[in-house]
Amino acid sequence: MLRQLHKYPGLIASLLVVFLALSGVVLSVLPALDRAGAPAVPATGTDVATVAGKIAANFPGIEHITRTPSGKVIAFYYKNDQPMSSLIDPATGKAIAPYDRSKFEQWMKSLHRSLFLGDKGRITAGVGAAAMLILTLSGLWMTARRMGGWSKLLSKSRGTKMQRLHVDLARLAVVGLVLSSFTGIYITLATFEIIPDGMATPPAFPESVNGGATMPVDQIDALKNLDLGQLRELVFPYPGDPTDVYTLATDTGDGYIDQSTGEMLTWQPHSAIQQIYETIYMLHTGKGLWWLALLLGLASATVPVMAFTGIVMWWRARKGRPRIRANQGAQAADTIILVGSEGGSTWGFARTLHDSLTKAGHKVHTAPMNSLKPAYRKAKNMFILTATYGDGEAPQSAKNFLARLKAFNGKPDFKVAVLGFGDRQFPKFAQFARDVDAALESRGWERLLDTDFIDRQSTQEFNRWGRDVAKALGEELALEHVPVLPRRHQLTLVAREDYGAEVQAPTSILRFSLPESGLLARITGRAMPKFEAGDLVGIIPPGSNVPRYYSLASSAKDGMLEICVKKHPGGQCSGYLHELQPGDTVQAFIRPNPDFRPAKGKAPVILIGAGTGIGPLAGFIRGNDKARPMHLYFGARDPKSDFLYRNDLEQWLAERKLTGLNAAFSRVENRSYVQDIIKQDAETLRELINNGAQILVCGGRSMANGVMEALEQVLAPTGLEPATLKAQGRYAEDVY
């Protein structure tokens, strides 16, 4: 435990930040409570001389009068040589109640700013404020990057539930947190006199005073002209000391008044530095600004939630990346491996390469592509292993690579080999690896090997590439990649419906029961995770270690797991699944796909799919308990053979889970495709999209492209484009 605490100082920093935020939340309500308890002061005509005179008459042992930022007037006096204090009604100068500083407030404040540890605690709290500021600003920057630029900072958040919660709370709280942490740092620095607060030097005490009898306080001109609202403190002369003075502090300055002449002997207006400090102090504490204090308190209340979600997300990302053993420093290594990965599988290949090169006696440094250094002093060879994200974009761990490449010092002494990972079914197969290749080419980097590609994580292809590497290095190198897969769960087939055999498209809806899991398994995360329709299930056919992914047609709350599988000629996994009979089991794991599901709310949803692409769409309709408008556009071959979910769809229409059903069939008379029915229904679609509809498309790549073109035509009169909707998160595709 201790070791882990030591290992993850970030966790300690977040505990500190959470502690500061929570104690700050408690303190934030105090100014409002204080304000609620302040007696109403007559708005005008209340001058300090009058009020002080009344108080002095009631309290002969008066020592000083204070007005708090919330407007309370407090008299401090001695009675029978005992120090006393009372809350005063300014109208009468009489005590309303004894005044005691709240012990709780004192305690809480002391805890908040010093953890009861004196100066060490103050420094710790200051460091905590700095950590909060760094977290807030870096988080803001990451959010902007994730959203696709500062201009899109406020657009709809995407990702898992946890990611959305984190980002949504952060955007609400960011201004308050920046304000609280910045002012907290400023106050700490001022406490340690690293920056001035302008209060160290009070006005010079007068060289001489009149020395005569004390003038009653209500006759002093300087106080007659001073509104009570301006007063901070009036200290009476020390009794029996003719050399003492009235000491006055107001909102604008400090001064001394001769006790026998009533003349202002010295007056020192507040310096700009002091005004800045006081403003910052007020912004931090909300003293005198109770509504600001409450807003800052609300912002701080989000911090524990963000710390929790942040740590969980960090932990998940970490778990998704295999541990690299014996990783060398960037400047000590002779071999550099850079990884561009989105989901984490490329890291597995990088680790295999790392381990076998290390075994061969190399000093190997493996890092994300984003951490490309401007130079590698001892490197002889560099390997760049990268996947591609989405439509030819850089994956998460390589987003900054091309920008950082521009900052690389000249032409390197080492040789480089690029290996791209992708899926040949996509038109932009391994596009990012090609972009990296072109960027290196234009900068004249020398090659160890020509850029090569791995299709669908094939271990055979990777091992073949390993032999090429060994040949180029002139060394023995055995690359034996065994992919690291997530924890798998055993699913049992309970039912299957077969379609499409007559139209040469044998397709089955397979329904599996979920494994039972005990409480312990759920707590320790060993149980099968929850899933939604549209998430993916990875299934590993026997004799293979490469999973195939299928879109889920059910959610965990349906109590079963359902997929649609079309049998591909020679398809290893689809063939295996089509052989399954009820009672047979498969090994499977869940991969979340949070960007492909209906957004929250009541806006209409347009579902477009062909063939097995109807699977997740059927799952969405099945889960539409609130009967929001859902319109399905479905393409198949023949209504008599492969109209998947036909009976279910009719039932869902009757239950109003489904609003509209349009189907196109390509192997009948008057054949049509799903693109055609989209164009035919253009008017309805335009109206739905104008009403904020979201579009979800699932199916083959060529169908998805056809749908996109059809929608472009449909939307042309509205001035909208599918690309715009995509950027807004209102157009999502799940294609294969």
Partner: protein, 159 residues
């Protein structure tokens, strides 16, 4: 507080300003116990004035942040906040209810010669308490407890 610090106090503050020789000095223990006034640590400054009330020198400053010294009103007026007066004789502030004890080598010449020992006190959110303690330095007065107005429950010097 350690006695060695007390010696340091003497050499830096009093000895330079007040007295020519250390020859006839004796260890004097100052004991200050605070009330449970229910606030954070109090700043205390212990200093000496002559019979006319004119500042002579500082014995000890309890409180490390110089920016708060202005709240020790009479001391601050007398010294104009000159930090050289407390250089090397500064320690931590004193918590509510705590006892602060320090032993200093004080010259015999300070006693029964009209000098007064004074303590100014202040704590955050509480009234400033200048000259909270004012006691004449006499050999006969040693061991007699004195009560302050706000913060100090009892103060004694003994030798």
């Amino acid at each position: 507080m350690t006695p060695t610090l007390g010696k340091l106090a003497l050499t830096t503050a009093i000895a330079t300003s007040l007295l020519p020789a250390l020859a006839n000095a004796r260890p004097v223990t100052l004991t200050t116990t605070l009330n449970n006034y229910g606030g954070g640590g109090a700043y205390l400054v212990i200093y000496v004035t002559n019979a006319k009330g004119v500042y002579q020198g500082t014995l000890w400053m309890a409180g490390t942040h110089a920016k708060y010294y202005r709240h020790l009103l009479h001391w601050f007026r007398a010294t104009r906040g000159n930090l050289a007066e407390v250089n090397g004789i500064t320690g931590a502030s004193v918590g509510a209810g705590r006892t602060f004890k320090i032993t200093l080598d004080l010259p015999d010449a300070l006693f029964d010669a009209g000098y007064k020992l004074r303590i100014d006190a202040a704590a955050e959110n509480f009234r400033e308490s200048p000259s909270e303690i004012v006691v004449p330095l006499t050999k006969a007065g040693a061991g007699k407890a004195k009560r302050g107005r706000t913060f100090i429950k009892s103060f004694t010097y003994s030798m």
